[in-house]
Amino acid sequence: MQRINSAAELDARREDIRAGKDADRPAIAVCSGAGCAGLSNGRVIAAFEKELESQGLAGKVDLRATGCHGLCELGPNVVIYPEEIYYVHVKPEDVAEIVKETVQGKKVVDRLVYSDPASGEKAVHLSEIPFYKYQSRNLIGNNTRINPSSIDDYIGIGGYAALAKALFGMKPEQVLDEVKKANLRGRGGGGFPAGLKWETTRNAPEKEKYVIVNGHEGEPGAFMDRAVFTGNPHLVLEGLIIGAYAIGAHQGFIYTRHDSKLLKQNIDRALKQARENGLLGENILGSGFDFDVEVHFDVGIFVSGESSALMRSIEGKNPEPRPKYIRTSVSGIWDKPSNLNNVETWANVPQIIEKGAEWYTGIGTESSKGTKMISLSGNIVNSGVVEVPFGTTLRQIIFDIGGGIPGGKKLKALHFGGAMGGSIPESLIDTPLDFDALKKVGAPMGAGALMVMDEDTDMVEMARFFLTFLTNESCGKCVPCREGIQQLLKILTDICKGEGKKGDIETMEEIADVMSAASLCSLGKTATDPLRGTLKYFREEYETNIH
C-alpha cells in the first residue's frame, strides 16, 4: 500500500479505486454485526465462500462481511448488489440457491424476501422495507456498501475527503467554527454542544492536548455505537483526526469495549491502514499535521464510561469519577486538556465538514440537528439500529419503523436513557425525538437506547431492576450513592412483594433528593431518575402495593 502524500494524491487514489470497480459487478454483503454474529452468520459466510468457489465465481463476485445493517431482528441478513436485493433469516442451507438463482440468474428467491408480518406484503429491495424506508441513514447507511476491513472501500465512497478539505482548505479555527455553527450536540448522553467543548480544550493554556473517543457504550440496551464503529471504523477515525486538527491535539485515545472481538479487530486494522496510507501519524497527507491514536479497553464496569473515570482508566488506574468542578476539557488525562466525545458524535464530523453547517442544520429540529442513531429493543417487533432525523416522533419509530408491539400486546411505556433514564407512558408517544423535548417529558435520550415495554411490564419492578444494575456498576466511593441505592432497593423489594408500608414513597423521594444533591458523579445524581419517572407517571402501581 502506498502512502498518500497530498490531497491530489488522495483524489487520484479515489479515481483509481472507482475505475477499478465495476458498478454492475455482483457483490454479496453478509451482516456481521453483533446481532447477526450471534445467529451463526459465520456459517453463512463460510457457505458463501464455498459456493462461490464451486459455482466457479470466486474472484468474480465480491463477498463482504459487513457491520450491522440495522434490522437485527431478522438476521442473519444478506444484501445482493447491484440490485440491492434484501434477504432475511438466511441459513447456510439457503446459500447455494441464492448464488445460483440471484447472483447468477438475477432471479429473486421469494421465501427469503422480507414479508410484512401484518399484511403479508413483500419487499424485495432494502429501500422498500418499511424498517428502512422511513429512516435517513446518513451514518450507518454505508455499512452494507463497504467492507470494514478495506480502507479502499471507504476512500472509494468519498472517505477522508472531509479530512483533506479541513487540512488543506480550512484553518483549525474555521473547522471549529463550522462545527459550532452546525450545532453538533454530543450523542453520548448529555447533549452538550461539541463545538463549545472543543473550544474549551483548544483554548486551555497547556500546550499538549488530547482527544478521545468514548466507545465504552456501557448503557444496557445500547448497541448503535458499536454498529457504526465496527461497520465503518474509518468514519469515526476521520472525525477524530479532523477534531484533533481543530483542537490542536497530536495524540488521541480510543476507549472501547474489550468484550467485542470484531470491534477490537476492526479498530486496530483501521488504525494500521490509516497509518500505512499516510492518514495517521506524522505529516498527515503531507500537510505537516501530526496525530496518532492509542487504543484502550474498558474492563467491564459501567461507571468507567463517565468522562473523568474513563480518563483515570486510560492512565491505568481504577475508574473513579472525580468532582465536576475541574473540567476534563481543561484538565483530563495526566492533567492535560482532554476533549472527550462519543463515537456517534465523532462520526458526524466528516459530513459537517464536507457538506457544511448549513446543510447539516437543515436536518432536525430547532435545537437538535442532524440524525440520531437509536438502538431499539425490548418488546418490539423489529428490534435493531435505527437512524432518523431529529424531530421524528416516537410513534413513527415504534410503529412505522419498529413494526409495533409483538404478540398483539398493547404498548405501555417507552424508556430512554438506560438505568439513569426515564419511562414515559404511551400517551406521550407523539413526542418528537429532540434532546430538550424528551428531557422535558422525563425521558432524556441518553445515548439513544430506546426500550419498548408492553402492557405486561411491572413498572415498580423496572425501577428496582435499574437500581439493582446500578448498585453493581457504581464505583462505591461516595456514601450517598452507595448507601442510598441500598436503602431504596430494600423498600422497592418490599413494595414489589406487595409489602409496602405507608410512608415508603415519601421516604424514597427523600433519599432520592439526597442522592441527587450529594453524590459525586452523575451516576449517583441521576440513579433515581427511573424511580422518579415511574412515581410520576405510574404512581398507582406503587400505591396498590402499599398497605
Binding site: 453483533a34 450471534g38 445467529l39 468484550d259 474492563v299 467491564g300 418488546n379 444494575f469
Partner: protein, 141 residues
C-alpha cells in the same frame, strides 16, 4: 509479560491478556505482575478486584453467561436464568461440583436483539426459551 516489563501503565493490559488466556488470576501471577511491572501488589489487587472482568477464583470448563440487561429482562431473562440454574444445579456466581460449568449473569453485550440469551464459551444462543436450554447445554461436555 516481557513486552510490558517495567511499565506500570500497562497493568490493565497485562491483567486482561492473562485473564483472557487463563480465565482467572491466581495469586502467584498477581505477585509476578507486581514484580515485573514495578507496581505495588496492593495496587494490582485493587485493580484486579475492582473490575468485574477479572476473576480471582477458578472457573468451570465451560462458562455460561445469562444476560440480565434491560432488553433481555423485558424478553424473559429471569425465567431463562431460573431454568439454567435448575439444570446446572448452581446459582449465578458459582461453579458446579465437577467444574463443568460456571454460571454468571452479566449485563448487556449489545446483542439485545437476541434477547433473552445465554452465552456459552462466547457462543450466543439467542431468543432462547426455557425448554430449549437442556438441548443446548448437552453440547458442552
Amino acid at each position: 509479560m516481557a513486552k510490558y516489563e517495567g511499565k506500570p501503565g500497562a497493568l490493565i493490559h497485562v491483567l486482561m491478556e492473562i485473564q483472557s488466556e487463563n480465565h482467572w488470576l491466581p495469586k502467584e501471577i498477581l505477585n509476578a505482575i507486581s514484580d515485573r511491572l514495578n507496581v505495588p501488589l496492593s495496587r494490582v489487587m485493587q485493580v484486579a478486584s475492582f473490575y468485574k472482568t477479572f476473576s480471582l477464583t477458578p472457573k468451570g470448563r465451560h462458562r455460561i453467561h445469562v444476560c440480565s440487561g434491560t432488553s433481555c429482562h423485558l424478553r424473559g431473562a429471569d425465567e431463562l436464568l431460573n431454568s439454567v440454574q435448575e439444570l446446572v444445579g448452581v446459582k449465578a456466581g458459582e461453579v458446579d461440583a465437577d467444574a463443568r460449568f460456571s454460571l454468571e449473569t452479566g449485563c448487556c453485550l449489545g446483542s439485545c436483539t437476541l434477547g433473552p440469551e445465554m452465552i456459552v464459551d462466547g457462543e450466543h444462543h439467542g431468543r432462547l426459551s426455557s425448554d430449549r436450554v437442556e438441548e443446548v447445554l448437552k453440547n458442552y461436555a
